[in-house]
């Protein structure tokens, strides 16, 4: 491992694409333990694709993703399962199972992976729901929840196994600004309170300045990273003018 000792995820020389079409070529970056890290880019720059490679859903063409010392690209079987248990994922729509109630959704990983008594599973699931502010919606079906509540429930399910790392795919997509700000506050609270490292894909600039410690900006033209660093610093000092404009929400 050639990464810094405090980095939780190391992305090394990662080249990804669909078939013949390359999306990103030879990118490198680290995510540090305990930070909120955001991946930014214009639509179609491969943000979500990159995230799906980082969580091991897709196989890269070349390169490696190492999560706390173990490569998710090369891991198989039990080793892969061990890596998968280290992180939770919130998908764009929440990806709650429609046939289960909210609390059953959150309980699902406990039911599948632990031998805890029923009381314990209910207590844990309910405590996670309370952490995300959904204790009153425990027995509702996902279809009866609003978009913001579904995302909160998705986060509750993602943190139920106490992961040290949480991936969020466009957490504020489709949410109104107030709900979105509430979600940002929740992310900050979970990051500070539980010490969870966050990696999020987003193009919501407001939430980047309020939650992200560091960001990378993907460049669709060079298929690489245009800028990496603290968002408010990059807004004024990024090398490429379009990155500064992008971060200032100006048309390029």
């Amino acid at each position: 491992m050639n990464g810094a000792p405090h980095s939780l995820i190391e992305v090394r020389d990662l080249t990804i694409g669909y078939g013949d079409r390359l999306v990103l070529e030879g990118i490198n970056f680290d995510v540090r333990r305990g930070e909120v890290f955001a991946i930014l880019g214009v639509s179609g720059s491969g943000k979500s694709t990159l995230l799906k490679h980082m969580i091991g859903l897709y196989q890269p063409i070349r390169g490696d993703v190492v999560i706390s010392g173990a490569s998710i690209v090369h891991a198989e079987g039990d080793e892969r399962l061990r890596i998968l248990r280290k992180f939770g994922v919130l998908y764009q729509g929440g990806a709650l199972f429609g046939s289960l109630t909210t609390v059953e959704n959150v309980r699902l990983p406990l039911d599948e992976f632990t031998d805890l008594p029923e009381v314990a599973k209910d207590l844990i699931a309910l405590s996670k729901l309370r952490l995300v502010g959904l204790e009153s919606a425990a027995t509702k079906l996902p279809a009866d929840l609003s978009g913001g509540m579904q995302k909160r429930a998705g986060i509750a399910r993602a943190i139920v196994m106490d992961p040290c790392l949480l991936f969020l795919d466009e957490p504020s997509a489709g949410l109104d600004p107030i709900t979105s700000a509430g979600l940002d506050a929740l992310i900050r609270e979970l990051a500070r309170g539980l010490g969870i490292t966050f990696v999020m894909v987003t193009h919501e600039l407001a939430s980047i300045y309020s939650v992200a410690d560091r960001i990378v900006v993907l460049d669709p033209k060079t298929r690489g990273i245009a800028a990496e660093g603290v968002p408010s610093w990059l807004r004024e000092n990024a090398n490429q003018p379009w990155v500064r404009q992008f971060l200032k929400r100006e048309a390029a």
Partner: protein, 380 residues
């Protein structure tokens, strides 16, 4: 004071009860998702027989995650020592913060929540209601489709012929191999099964007549229609259902386009056009399936063909083909109706697909029975 611990468990605890009714439980080690279940169960059995008035839990030496916290919380609300005043000491501030997210009220609310259960009478009422609503929708739908087809006949510009040909190809042409194979095998089986009883009467040669009649009047159209329902009707329902879920149908409506005119009429017209073709293939394949059997029984090919020819009349063929047109209209329209009726949620499309196949096949058989009864009375 006996040391209660297990060798391979990362957590140890020490339980002591003084004669004055105060108990003390000291934890050390790690309570995680793996060690907690074991600890939970053994503590439960250890504490089961013990009656204490106050109980102190010392967790200064303990590291724990959510699972461990759940155990501590359960202990602290007296879950294992009913009636005792429990005091939890030595919890780190972070864990204390997390422990606050556990709540007895939430748990009780969950336990008291019972899934709404309706009575038998209510169920019957609801089922009858939905059946009547469905019937009404079907009648309305038949009217709407007929109107749509009529409109398209008078104003052919309204008809999307490209879509009709696409459906014709996907649901018709591509289905030919499987329909032919199916009826070929059915023809073979029928020839085999009927040859034995007819042999006892010395009438084995009439297997050819029987096959010709059965295939052209009954099995040809019915098999083709059932295949259409299973293969393409379900696809219609799923396609329209997904469009409904994706709000494409709403988009059509707000553009001022009727989903029936825009999506259903094409499919019904294609269904009416393609089933006779499928049926003719089915009839021929069925006959072809019988021929090897008859040849095997020792009849020459010419004799078999002559028997089929003499036993079959134009009326039989016409009956089969007109039936197939009715079946085609039924399958296409019922499947589209089920697709349009799709509700919300991920299971809705699956449900409407199932309903489309069940309703189509049911209505095919019903229509077949009615047509058979009518033609029988007419022929008399």
């Amino acid at each position: 004071m006996p040391e209660k611990s297990s060798v391979d468990l990362p957590v140890r605890w020490n339980l002591s009860v003084r004669p004055d009714g105060t108990g003390k439980l000291e934890f050390a080690g790690e309570l995680d998702a793996e060690s907690t279940p074991v600890a939970w169960r053994s503590l439960e059995s250890e504490l089961a027989g013990i009656k204490v008035a106050s109980f102190e839990i010392d967790v200064r030496q303990l590291v724990c995650d959510s699972a461990g916290l759940a155990l501590l919380y359960h202990l602290s609300i007296g879950g294992m020592t009913p009636g005792a005043i429990v005091n939890l000491t030595g919890l780190s501030p972070e864990l204390q913060h997390l422990l606050r997210s556990f709540s007895k009220e939430d748990f009780q609310a969950l336990q008291e929540h019972e899934p709404t259960c309706s009575s038998f009478v209510e169920d019957v009422g609801a089922a009858t209601g939905s059946w009547l609503r469905d019937l009404r929708q079907q009648v309305e739908f038949i009217g709407e489709v007929t109107l749509g087809v009529m409109k398209s006949l008078f104003r052919p510009r309204l008809m999307h012929w490209k879509e009709v040909f696409r459906v014709f190809e996907v649901a018709g042409v591509n289905a030919l191999p499987v329909v032919s194979l199916l009826t070929f095998l059915v023809g073979m089986v029928i020839a085999f099964e009927s040859a034995q009883p007819l042999e006892q009467l010395g009438a084995q040669v009439f297997v050819a007549n029987l096959l010709g009649l059965v295939m052209s009047r009954e099995l040809g159209p019915v098999m083709a229609a059932i295949m259409l329902a299973g293969r393409s009707g379900s696809a219609f329902a799923a396609e329209l259902g997904t469009m409904k879920v994706n709000e494409e149908l709403n988009a059509l409506q707000t553009m001022g386009l009727s989903p029936v005119q825009f999506l259903v009429v094409q499919r019904v017209v294609a269904g009416i056009l393609l089933t006779p073709v499928l049926t003719i293939f089915a009839m021929y394949a069925g006959l072809l399936g019988g021929i090897p059997v008859l040849l095997g029984l020792g009849f020459p090919l010419r004799m078999v063909l002559h028997q089929v020819q003499s036993g079959l009349h134009f009326g039989d063929l016409a009956e089969g083909l007109s039936k197939s047109i009715v079946f085609g209209a039924i399958v296409a329209s019922v499947s589209c109706l089920r697709g349009l009726q799709t509700g919300e949620g991920p299971r809705a499309v699956g449900e409407s697909t199932t309903r489309s196949v069940v309703s189509s096949i049911l209505l095919i058989i019903l229509a077949d029975a009615i047509i058979a009864a009518v033609t029988y009375t007419l022929r008399k």
